[in-house]
């Protein structure tokens, strides 16, 4: 009997989206753009532990919803694209066959891709759609910092959760 895993997939993405929303909204340092938060930590954790599709949807939808709830609805589509692609790319880079540990080089590459995606993505899309080049450029250092912290903590969390809750690998898709 072929296993229909639709319910599990829906459940995984829904809960991970909620996780991204909560992480985005719990620690907040206001800046001009919006706020600095732990969203990249959550996204990198998901990208390192789960597959590309979960990472894409959870990251994109989660950050878009968080923007919506915080009253920054105009950023929602941009966040969806930028963070969705961030989750997707990082997950694709670190995807391994079986449960082989991820090589250090791969992690570094994933880290750089993550930081680049977030900063360049926000820069480009904000410049075009929201605020123009110079203002968007001012946000780049903050985004780099946030995504950098995100990669490092996300990796640490992925390792810690794997130890604390081994069944997590059966949930990944």
């Amino acid at each position: 009997m072929e296993k229909n895993r639709n319910a599990l997939k829906v459940a995984v993405v829904a809960v991970l989206t909620a996780v991204v929303v909560v992480f985005t909204m719990i620690v907040r340092i206001p800046t001009a753009k919006g706020y600095l938060n732990l969203c990249d930590v959550a996204i990198c954790f998901i990208a390192f532990t789960f597959g590309p599709w979960s990472a894409f949807i959870a990251a994109g939808l989660g950050t878009a919803l968080a923007d919506l709830f915080s009253g920054y609805a105009q950023w929602a589509p941009i966040s969806f694209v930028v963070h969705g692609v961030e989750g997707l790319l990082v997950a694709l880079i670190v995807r391994q066959k079986g449960s082989v540990t991820i090589p250090f080089v791969t992690k570094v590459v994933a880290g750089f891709v993550c930081m680049a995606t977030v900063s360049l993505g926000y820069f480009a899309l904000s410049a075009i759609f929201i605020s123009g080049v110079s203002v968007a450029a001012a946000e780049i250092p903050w985004n780099l910092l946030q995504s950098g912290v995100g990669v490092v903590l996300g990796l640490a969390l992925a390792a810690a959760v794997k130890r604390a809750y081994p069944p997590v690998s059966s949930l990944a898709w």
Binding site: M1, K3, N4, L8, A160, R163, A164, Y165, P166, P167, S170
Partner: protein, 482 residues
């Protein structure tokens, strides 16, 4: 005989030679939870299956509903047929009209944003028309007194209300077999009677799994069974009840009676004229809830219980007592000295109802060592010795992963962590939830060893009477001794 020979009345549930072992995430294999269970229920029969907590009761219920081993990996042998369908070749959604399962823990079964959406969800899955769904939802909500809570979300409901939502859902769907896991717990008396009537007058088959409040099941059931040693055994009512009580350890001496405590120093914590206001989560309350505590004292070695229904303010008081929240007025004094929130953190340990919220680390060893390592006055060898001694005392394996341990063991770990913190006072929030009385009592006895004062919060009066030397209750927002 558990299962009649072939032929005769139609069987709603047919379990033959069922064995189940959970998948092990470590090197060592797990012991089987069920070993050769035979259980057959005729159409329209009502059966009571008793089992102490954590002996395979919920596992059996989940297997019958088709959820296990699909979602809880393990090895299953034997066969299960529900209304003629072989579960090895059936998906859970195909059993929607055949088997309805109400879990012991309602929180894990909610999928919708509001109560009415929750009840409507399975009806939408059945493809019913909008009027039909509305009719069934209205009937079910009215029957269970949930009309006012239609648009409430799960967070706003009390434990009893959540159970009623799940029962209303089953009534709206009306499957042929009802599997009720501890559904009578948490319900008020009137609702327990309503559920009893529903079972008695219904045409469906009912399997009730229970381990508590057995007095009310007067003549409701046709057959009585006991789940012990991984097998199901039928028998006469008196016989089964007696065996069950033995299994739960009810006959064992109460470890709290006449317990000798090593009292080094005696502390007394006094609260006077406490006043606080809590903004309730529920949208139904117009006025914020006000709690006042004229006088409350707890001394080292005390056993105090705080009883009351859900939402009466017990948690509010506990949070004040351990310093998580600050009161609007009033004061706390320990041995005559005034205490602020930080001081209370250090003196009063609060064990949450859900142990998973107080366990952080990947192994039992790390969990137990964590607080000790931060103390400057202990050498690493002393830490290791203390951790080992504590684990032995609570029956814990140092290398286990908490997230894969059973519930009673996680509760024991939670208690062990606080035992090592050696606080003078402990607040235990609903400790008896999902534990047998004897296990809960032994945990309390262990925590009390070094002379700590215990405040136990519970809504189970029987358990309170086993524990408490003095009892408090919250009546209309005022905490008083009774």
């Amino acid at each position: 005989m558990n299962c009649p020979a072939k032929g005769g009345k139609e069987l709603c549930l047919e379990v033959r030679a069922l064995s189940f072992t959970y998948h092990s995430w470590k090197e060592a294999k797990n012991t089987p939870v069920l070993t050769g269970v035979d259980l057959c229920l005729e159409q329209g029969s009502r059966t009571l299956l008793l089992a102490p907590f954590d002996r395979g009761k919920s596992t059996l219920a989940r297997i019958i509903s088709g959820l296990c081993p699909k979602y809880l990996p393990g090895v299953l042998e034997g066969s299960v047929h529900v209304c003629g369908k072989d579960l090895a070749h059936t998906e859970p959604w195909q059993l929607l009209l055949d088997c309805g399962y109400v879990s012991q823990n309602p929180q894990e079964q909610f999928v919708a944003l509001s109560v009415e959406d929750e009840v409507a969800f399975p009806l939408e899955s059945l493809g019913l028309g909008r009027e039909e769904i509305a009719r069934r939802v209205d009937t079910a909500l009215t029957n269970w007194g949930l009309q006012d809570l239609r648009s409430s979300s799960q967070q706003e409901l009390s434990g009893g209300e959540r159970k009623r939502v799940l029962l209303a859902l089953q009534q709206a769907v009306n499957p042929r077999l009802w599997v009720l896991d501890e559904s009578f717990d948490d319900l008020d008396r009137s609702w327990r009677e309503y559920l009893t009537t529903l079972i008695r007058e219904g045409e469906g088959t009912t399997l009730v799994l229970a381990s508590r409040y057995l007095e009310q099941f007067e003549d409701l059931f046709d057959r009585y069974a006991l789940l012990e040693g991984g097998k199901v055994r039928f028998g006469a009512k008196a016989e089964i009840l007696h065996l069950f009580s033995v299994l739960c350890g009810d006959g064992l001496a109460n470890p709290l009676k006449g317990q000798k405590l090593s009292k080094n120093v005696e502390h007394t914590l006094v609260c006077s004229d406490l006043v606080t206001v809590r903004t309730r989560v529920s949208t139904l309350e117009a006025r914020p809830f006000r709690l006042s505590v004229p006088h409350f004292t707890i001394t080292s070695g005390d056993l105090i219980t705080l009883v009351g229904p859900n939402g009466s303010g017990k948690s509010t008081f506990s949070r004040l007592l351990c310093g998580l929240d600050e009161p609007r007025g009033g004061s706390f004094t320990l041995d005559g000295k005034k205490m602020g929130a930080r001081d209370l953190n250090r003196s009063v340990g609060y064990l949450f109802q859900n142990p998973d919220l107080q366990i952080f680390l990947p192994t039992v060893r790390e969990e137990l060592s964590w607080s000790l390592k931060r103390r400057k006055d202990l050498s690493p060898d002393q830490v290791t010795a203390m951790v080992g001694e504590c684990a032995a005392l609570f029956g814990l394996d140092l290398e286990e992963t908490p997230s894969t341990m059973s519930y009673p063991l996680r509760k024991a770990l939670q208690a062990a962590v606080y035992y090592l913190l050696d606080r003078p006072f402990y607040i235990l929030d609903e400790l008896d939830n999902a534990l047998t009385y004897s296990v809960a009592l032994s945990i309390i006895a262990l925590l009390r060893r070094n002379g700590a004062g215990i405040l136990l919060i519970t809504h189970d009066r029987t358990f309170a009477s086993l524990v408490g030397e003095s009892t408090y209750a919250i009546e209309a927002g005022v905490l008083e001794s009774i």
